[in-house]
Symmetry: C2
């Protein structure tokens, strides 16, 4: 039975990098005799331009009917500095996460042997780093009530969590830790926030059912330091939505380039795969954006459906491009390879 | 007229490091013929133990009657993992900030020539870094309404800001930028949060009165990366309470040790000076905690009252201890100098 994959290229460099991921999936079809059914739909700024809304009904419908969503990027600077904008591209992604129930965002952070020099961190600090962040994705301050008074002089956002929201992602994270180095670190601000104290209580209780996993706690301010000071101390990080957003982007400096980091967003019935980088509007159309994060998102998709061998082939091909230096300029100064060529190279090596 | 300085040693290593700052202020008294009146009061876990509350009335009264507060540290692990604790040491500090109206927390981040090797970041990345963070300190999610339902299954924290709260710290930050490299970066999450959009609107408007200052905006997730990738791009960073907490601790890795970073918390009528490090309970009583952050807090205090020459003498003496390697073990492996000896050395060199 063929996997139905919804393609949502989105904004900025999204379409360019997603095209390379699709190339790789097509190579997987050929090599492994698989069959995928691709269907494309607009989301984000481009959807606002075309349909007046960042998540058109037809796009949502397509995603719901598909087995998985492969996402490009979202965001356009013309909305960022307009505090009065009524619609925003990002709403498309947030609404999609909510509608599909994608409550867990999973972001692996690895130091890459061939890229140790690219990181702003010292080799000895990052060498051997291997952790994964479980970020709650459909709750917290992202989705709590937002208010602006009539005079436009007072604004608020509510950060709210329920035991159920915490517990479903906590179970996923504990299970992941069980299959890894058996350590789980909850990042919160329990010395200040009521919602963080609930996280700590619920996670502590759930931890009792995973006695083989060592659970510890870290305040988010300290965590922001520790991730840089000693990234090797982490195995599985579990955290709420806003802290996860910050910590996982910060963690991206370890790998040497944000252009390498993929993520999976998982729900009960749906799954979405996307690079963690944004729409990078300055690079749009220039054939310089790094397609690897998008290609690795496709590898995460394959893994998610148990296509382990296929995922492995994609990751191997990515490794080869890194080792051979067939990479975009963000990874190698004056590299002559563009987005497309890197995509071709990786696809051919699958 | 003698400055009245309230001493609040607090918890963990607070008393030890504060004692060194006081030594240095006493050296300033001698060398510069100044006179300070010191009065001490309990705050934090120790105040809970003694008086049942983290901020006893007498402590607050002393602070209000003083010209400035010199603060040690706060926090005790026995409260951190107890989600049901009714009183917490941190409440003492938060309440103090609120009661004294200390709305601006100012944290300089500098790379120190003699400590470039201590940082987990590469020399070429941090060399020459010199920025300052203006963190809003009495608003936002720290002080918004907190709720927990009766069943203990749902918790929330409200992040609220008014135009006035934003505007008073924005003016301070713009003024600081005017006297520096004339660049101000507002860190927010305006693509998701209503309160961030208010920040962006208010700060943009205020920026018009500071045409010589270049204003730019950065999403907090991107900022968490940029501070590591290219810290030299920053001059003055302005941000709300929670983001400032995270970003400023993260920034501390640049200097090579969190044990070096001081901060000033400023209000209309009061000012408090403290190290940015916490109570570091593991080191309590061991004479190993780095006293420099506390000593530099005292230097910031002197500067605040226009005692520029005195502040300079303290900073010079700190430099000397760094250059001569008279430092605690966090800065030099197997260093034989303890907290007290480092304090003595610096005080003697004032
Ligand atoms: C685009 C934005 C709304 C989004 C987020 O904050 O979640 C992005 O930064 C991410 O991390 O996926
Ligand atoms: C102790 C804690 C409440 C405090 C804060 O979060 O503000 C500390 O981390 C700080 O940055 O001064």
């Amino acid at each position: 039975m063929a996997l139905k994959i919804a393609l949502l290229p989105g904004d900025g460099v999204g379409p360019e990098v997603l095209a390379q991921a699709v190339k790789c999936l097509e190579a997987v079809e050929e090599t492994f005799n698989q069959h995928f059914i691709f269907k494309e739909a607009p989301v984000g700024a481009i959807a606002i331009d075309k349909k007046g809304t960042p998540l058109p009904d037809a796009t949502l419908k397509l995603c719901k009917e598909s087995d998985a969503v492969l996402f490009g990027a979202i965001g356009d600077p013309k909305y960022d500095n307009d505090p009065d904008a009524k619609v925003r591209p990002e709403q498309g992604l947030l609404q999609l996460r909510k509608e599909l129930g994608l409550f867990a965002n999973i972001r692996p952070v690895l130091s890459h042997p061939t890229l140790l020099d690219k990181s702003p961190l010292k080799k000895k600090v990052i060498n051997g780093t291997d952790f994964v962040i479980y970020r709650e994705l459909t709750g917290g301050i992202y989705f709590g009530e937002k208010k602006l008074n009539d005079e436009g002089t007072k604004a608020s956002d509510l950060c709210e969590y329920t035991e159920d929201e915490i517990s479903r992602i906590a179970h996923l994270a504990f299970k992941a830790a069980k299959g890894r180095k058996k350590k789980l670190t909850l990042i919160d601000k329990a010395n200040v926030l009521e919602s963080s104290r609930l996280w700590r209580k619920v996670v502590t209780k759930i931890g009792e059912s995973y006695p083989e996993v060592a659970l510890d706690f870290m305040f988010v301010d300290n965590a922001a330091m520790q991730i840089i000071l000693n990234p090797k101390q982490f195995d599985v990080i579990l955290t709420e939505n806003m802290f996860g957003d910050i910590i996982s982007d910060e963690g991206s400096v370890i790998g040497g380039s944000i252009g390498l980091l993929a993520s999976a967003s998982i729900g009960e019935e749906n799954a979405l795969f996307e690079p963690i980088h944004g729409s990078y509007p300055q690079a749009k159309g220039k054939d310089i954006a790094n397609p690897i994060a998008s290609i690795l998102s496709a590898a995460m998709l394959l893994e998610h459906f148990g296509l382990t061998e296929e995922a492995w082939a994609v990751k191997k091909a990515v490794d080869k491009s890194l080792k051979k230096g067939v990479v975009t300029p963000d990874l190698k100064e004056n590299s002559q390879y563009g987005t497309n060529q890197v995509g071709d190279f990786i696809a051919h090596n699958i």
